[in-house]
Symmetry: C2
């Protein structure tokens, strides 16, 4: 029997592997030992928590092709409260951007930032100050513009999505299984790990999402020789333009990508106003910044989670076309 | 220039992807809101921790070949305090068992058990009872039989390894970056997720390590139709033989693999005594159980971390030979 017509192409993979980068050794002392019952019915075991640990490292998984067509490997940088899984199979089971950009000829690196996913996390509050934050379904539903503000009704099935929503709403609970806790004090360690990654394995083309974009902008400022291009998917933050020499970025083309359903979202209005200022500051410093407003380009209905929306292939194709236009794919 | 002779073969990959499986929706209420400063210098934001969450799911990543030679996909089940990363590139940068068993013709599934790595974890103590445990370097050094009992001297470089040690001792700190915290109360949720995985995507051949072996044995008891074989690398636990109908496993060949440096290790003496009883109970019930004592087979010096020791390729080759012997690879 012949395979169905829409079978994805077989990938010629030269290497698949992973590593941790960044981080440091840290020590605990003076904490009391405690009794732990490892298996119900067994006697308790005395556990001394003091000693040495590795903390603040980042995890990176890479898939390299036998014959990549892109000039640099692509690094996918996830957003807040998520890890690299957001680039893999979509919550409703379609190929994600990791797979699509491999098909498009890129070696693909996927990071799990410090404290997220396979990067692991360290004892809190001794090493990670404060408490971890766990995103509720209500917050994700509204902040990610799946439904309008105030639309969450306790469960996804009872909540109204935005009209024409591209997020696969039936897979919202599956998406929430991707959520990982976050602290608010690890940005410096995350940045250090990303910068070390650029130094050791760059130059990269970057696709960053949301919180990840600020790390991408700062990586480029720290190591402009190690960043070939930045695609910023709905960036949520940016460096202080007055504190940096933005002309360092003049050789690095930028593409900002924005979805749909911003109307009535006060937090997003503030974010977009800030990013417009960052965009203008970059342009004034001679940086090429293109903007892809998806609704204006015929792609309506996207949520904040562009890479897993039902039209994720079409959005990826626009990003790939921009890479080709920049001469980054041969 | 010709590539070096030892270049690994190009893999023909039909699919690479991932999903979460298992878990449930859970709810928090009545907790106080708190003020969180997300960026230094910014005003605090009020965060309400109450709401709905997905908890207790497992993460699974799979790589499928265009033309697998194994009759079933292989599922790699990590041990305690670790996640699926232990099967990827070794801490000293060599290809790991994920890669080697792909080369050997298996589709490979790698799980991150509940609470570990990309499976994510839930608020504690509200959802995950008790406190998370963080393994110290001292415990890993001695429990994993890298150095003899009492050999840890505060850092790897100052500590004596066992004579003839196969663990890549210079990469011990890199290995410790793979460590993830653990709780002691999530075994039932982990088992439920593994059993759901077997039901949805099995039958599998299993390679399990340490704590992962007990989940493998129980998966086979729950769904013997979904398990083709079990390779148990230094299993650390087992079900109560009196509580199960072991004849259910009679069609499932088992291979137990043991490394070196057990002398003088009281915890390992207890573990091996227990597992000998489990082995004998299986055999009495008609289950084929082979044992591979690596030192007796000419492979000396292995630590508990067989899959990342310097002779990991040779150990993998013995396991693959056993799969072939069982008729599981065509």
């Amino acid at each position: 029997m012949n395979p169905p017509r829409d079978d994805p192409p077989v990938l010629q993979v030269r290497d698949i592997g992973s590593f941790h980068i960044g981080g440091r050794e840290a020590h605990l002392s003076g904490l009391p030992a405690r009794e732990v019952v490892f298996s119900p019915g067994n006697p308790p075991v005395r556990v001394d928590p003091n000693g040495s640990f590795e903390i603040e490292q980042m995890y990176v998984q890479h898939v390299r092709l036998a014959a990549p067509r892109a000039r640099q490997p692509l690094l996918l940088m996830h957003g807040g409260g998520l890890c690299g899984v957001c680039w893999e199979t979509t919550p409703d089971g379609r190929p994600g951007w990791q797979r699509r950009f491999l098909e498009a000829g890129h070696d693909v690196f996927v990071a799990d930032a410090v404290e997220r996913g396979r990067a692991s996390w360290a004892r809190s509050p001794e090493f990670f100050a404060g408490e971890p934050l766990f995103r509720t379904k209500a917050e994700a539903w509204e902040l990610f513009r799946i439904g309008p503000p105030g639309s969450w009704q306790g469960r996804a099935g009872a909540s109204a999505a935005c009209a024409g929503q591209q997020f696969p709403v039936d897979a919202f609970d599956a998406f929430m299984k991707q959520s990982v806790p976050r602290w608010v004090g690890n940005d410096a360690a995350t940045q250090a790990a990303y910068d070390a990654l650029a130094a050791a394995h760059g130059p990269f083309a970057l696709i960053a999402h949301s919180q990840g974009c600020n790390f991408a902008f700062r990586m480029a400022l720290a190591r402009p020789d190690r960043v070939a291009a930045i695609v910023a998917l709905e960036p949520s933050g940016f460096p202080d333009p007055a504190a940096h020499e933005l002309a360092r970025l003049s050789g690095i083309p930028h593409l900002f990508v924005w979805g749909d359903h911003f109307e009535g979202h006060a937090p997003w209005a503030r974010i977009r106003q800030g990013l417009a200022g960052w965009r203008d500051a970059l342009r004034l410093s001679g940086v090429r910044v293109d903007e892809l407003e998806l609704p204006a380009q015929g792609l309506g209905g996207n949520s904040h989670m562009l890479m897993m929306d039902r039209n994720s292939d079409a959005v990826a194709a626009r990003v790939q076309a921009w890479f080709v236009q920049q001469g980054l794919v041969v």
